[in-house]
């Protein structure tokens, strides 16, 4: 039961605060904008992995369709930015270029409201959330659990991916939405290489980590974990299990949608590959490697894995080998370190846990006492 030992909440807070401090002062040491953009991307992955940790690590819902939320968020932002781009063919107020190429005559109705940034940003969070609400209600009310939830979310991911690619006239199809204007908000310009973009992402990740921490330490978070352990037992205490599961899925989707919007800002395009199976499985891997039941662990898992991958990407041969090593590392983690790399940190003894160990010793003693009696 060694892996079970948890640090007291203050130690956690210190750890989270230290992490936030590091990511906030990082730009002081990086002069290369290209490199900063890379780090911004890793942080976005950290955010989306942290989102998965809420549903998977805490509520036990392995959502293999996490990329749906991420991708939809990304498209919402990209649609707004696309409408700000002045098309070369038609000039200002004209249709987006790909629509012109596809002989679309007028802007489709669902594109209209994306002229407003406010609407787009709200949609980037709300569209994935509402979708998660529908899926959660559909699935959890029927008490579908475990593997079947994973299969359903995976299948829905494939469906949405196929539809986005197929409806090229409305979505840009296989090419996605490219040639986007930078986001301008509060007098700041968030282009991919700007410091403002990096800070926006770093602050978002920090805020999300602390808010997430508050949620998982609330009673709702406790009940989510109880459901992960034994959902029937929770039901017979009077809780509406499906409501809690749906909540976890929605919260996770909202954060992932937000991460998707940020990803559009750092990449300057949106693509159907953002809402495809490989991305979804990568998110699962990041979270598993870092520690599925830890928000910070999941985020750091994503940052470390993508960071190493990114630093090798300049030399293709290394990258290929790295992918091979990644696969092996992942299997090793699943087999021998199911709680991820963060569980190594949990094993570091702290003063506060001495009492706990004493208590554990007492239990062991009383247990042997009862058995003897």
């Amino acid at each position: 039961m060694d892996g079970q030992r948890k640090h007291p909440i203050w130690a956690k807070l210190v750890g989270y605060a230290a992490f936030c401090l590091v990511i906030l002062i990082l730009p002081l040491f990086i002069t290369d904008d290209y490199l900063l953009n890379k780090f911004a991307r890793y942080l976005v992955f950290g955010l989306v992995a942290m989102a998965l940790s809420i549903s998977w690590g805490y509520a036990g819902i392995l959502n293999l369709g996490q990329a749906v939320s991420f991708g939809l968020g990304s498209y919402c932002m990209a649609m707004a930015l696309k409408l700000r781009t002045i098309p070369i063919q038609t000039g200002a107020e004209g249709l987006p270029d790909f629509m012109v190429w596809n002989n679309v005559k007028s802007l489709p109705w669902f594109w209209e409201p994306f002229h407003s940034y406010g609407f787009a940003i709200a949609a980037g969070v709300l569209v994935p959330t509402i979708l998660a609400l529908l899926i959660g209600t559909f699935v959890f009310r029927a008490r579908v659990t475990g593997v079947y939830v994973s299969i359903i979310t995976l299948a829905l991911l494939v469906v949405i991916n196929l539809v986005v690619i197929d409806r090229q006239r409305l979505t840009g199809g296989f090419n996605g939405l490219t040639d986007l204007a930078p986001l301008e908000l509060f007098g700041l310009t968030f282009d991919p290489y700007a410091h403002a973009t990096y800070y926006l992402i770093a602050v978002s990740l920090g805020a999300a980590l602390f808010l997430g921490l508050a949620v998982v330490h609330s009673k709702t978070g406790l009940i989510m974990q109880a459901i992960r352990d034994d959902e029937n037992r929770v039901r017979y205490f009077g809780y509406d299990v499906a409501a809690y599961q749906t909540f976890a899925l929605c919260l996770s989707a909202a954060v992932a949608g937000f991460a998707g919007m940020l990803y559009t800002l750092v990449m300057a395009f949106a693509s159907p590959t953002f809402l495809a199976v490989p991305v979804s499985l990568s998110i699962v891997i990041w979270s598993a490697v870092g520690g599925r039941a830890s928000l910070l662990g999941s985020a750091m898992g994503a940052i470390i894995v993508t960071g190493v991958q990114g630093s090798l990407s300049d030399t293709p041969a290394f990258l290929e080998t790295w992918t091979l090593i990644m696969g092996a590392l992942f299997i090793v983690v699943v087999l021998f370190l199911p709680r991820g790399l963060i569980s190594l940190v949990d094993r570091i003894p702290l003063g506060g846990s001495a009492r706990r160990r004493a208590a554990a010793a007492t239990v062991a003693a009383s247990r042997s006492g009862i058995n003897a009696g």
Binding site: G146, Y148, L154, L156, V163, V277, I285, F330
Partner: protein, 290 residues
């Protein structure tokens, strides 16, 4: 009339390949209880085995099929010994570990055989079209259909008519009791996993002349095959056959009415609804709860 027949045959052709791929997956999931996401990579390895043997040793397709079965089957056995056996009872973790395995296999092929597309020759005797019931059908596709039927029969006999099959069914129903009666459950699991992997190898070998061979060719197959298994119901051989037939014909038919992409999307949506209302699959018996 010929139009309809053409359509049915094309659906049947899709179904036979789906069935070949799903059969191994269904056996592994139904008996060992492992969701093997590396199954697509097993199929891919079968295809590469044919390409390699043909290219380097000039072997024809038929001996390659046999060799692919044993090569991929052996790999399956090793994988079960090294990885899978440590994960029994942790279904969600098997999804993760086998996905990692898939990445390794794909990457290993990419590094050794290259990322470019490879092509496999169709056996000269089967490349022609056969005139059948008023329409021309591909001889090779008929061959695939026939071989699928044979493999299905072999699998049926193996499970329901042999000592191994009897022990296997015992292990599926109750591993503890089977163990008490002296059945080596661990060996049964390993052999079953190997057999399922071997079937994937054959599927890959049979697909290789029809499609281009590439390291990532398996990814698409595994999701489709998984849907077949889920629709058919775990532990139901007949269910797997029927569901491969339904999904194959449905994909063919819907593709005829709209296009391949939308057909696939509709089929998947159907699968989602099905799981919601009948997680035990279409063809599994209802069992007493609690």
């Amino acid at each position: 009339m010929t139009d309809i027949f053409n359509q049915v045959f094309s659906g049947l052709s899709i179904a036979s390949i789906l069935l070949l791929i799903s059969l191994g997956l269904a056996i592994i999931y139904g008996t060992v209880g492992v969701i093997n996401l590396a199954h697509g990579e097993f199929v891919m390895l079968g295809a590469y085995a044919v390409w390699f043997l043909e290219d380097h040793f000039g072997l024809g397709l038929f001996p390659c099929i046999v060799l692919a079965f044993f090569a991929v089957g052996t790999l399956g056995w090793v994988v079960e010994r090294l990885i899978i056996r440590r994960l029994y009872g942790r279904v969600l973790d098997t999804i993760l570990a086998t996905w990692g395995l898939g990445v390794i296999l794909q990457q290993a092929i990419r590094l050794s055989a290259g990322a470019e597309l490879r092509y496999v020759q169709m056996p000269p005797g089967l490349s022609a079209a056969v005139h059948f019931a008023g329409v021309d059908v591909s001889a090779y596709r008929l061959f695939v259909l026939a071989l699928t039927a044979i493999l299905l029969a072999v699998t049926y006999v193996l499970i329901f008519r042999t000592r191994f099959g009897m022990r296997l069914r015992g292990v599926v129903q109750n591993p503890e009791i089977a163990r008490c009666f002296g059945v080596n459950t661990s060996q049964i699991y390993a052999l079953t996993f190997a057999y399922g992997a071997g079937l994937a190898g054959i599927a890959g070998a049979l697909v290789s002349p029809l499609k281009s061979v590439s390291p990532d060719m398996g990814t698409g197959y595994v999701v489709d095959a998984f849907m077949v298994v889920v629709v058919g119901g775990v532990q139901s051989l007949l269910g797997t056959v029927a569901s491969a037939g339904i999904i194959g014909e449905l994909s063919g038919g819907l593709a005829y009415l709209s296009n391949d992409t939308i057909a696939k999307a509709i089929v998947f949506l159907g699968v989602v609804v099905l799981i919601r209302f009948r997680p035990q699959g279409l063809f599994a018996l209802r069992v007493r709860r609690g």
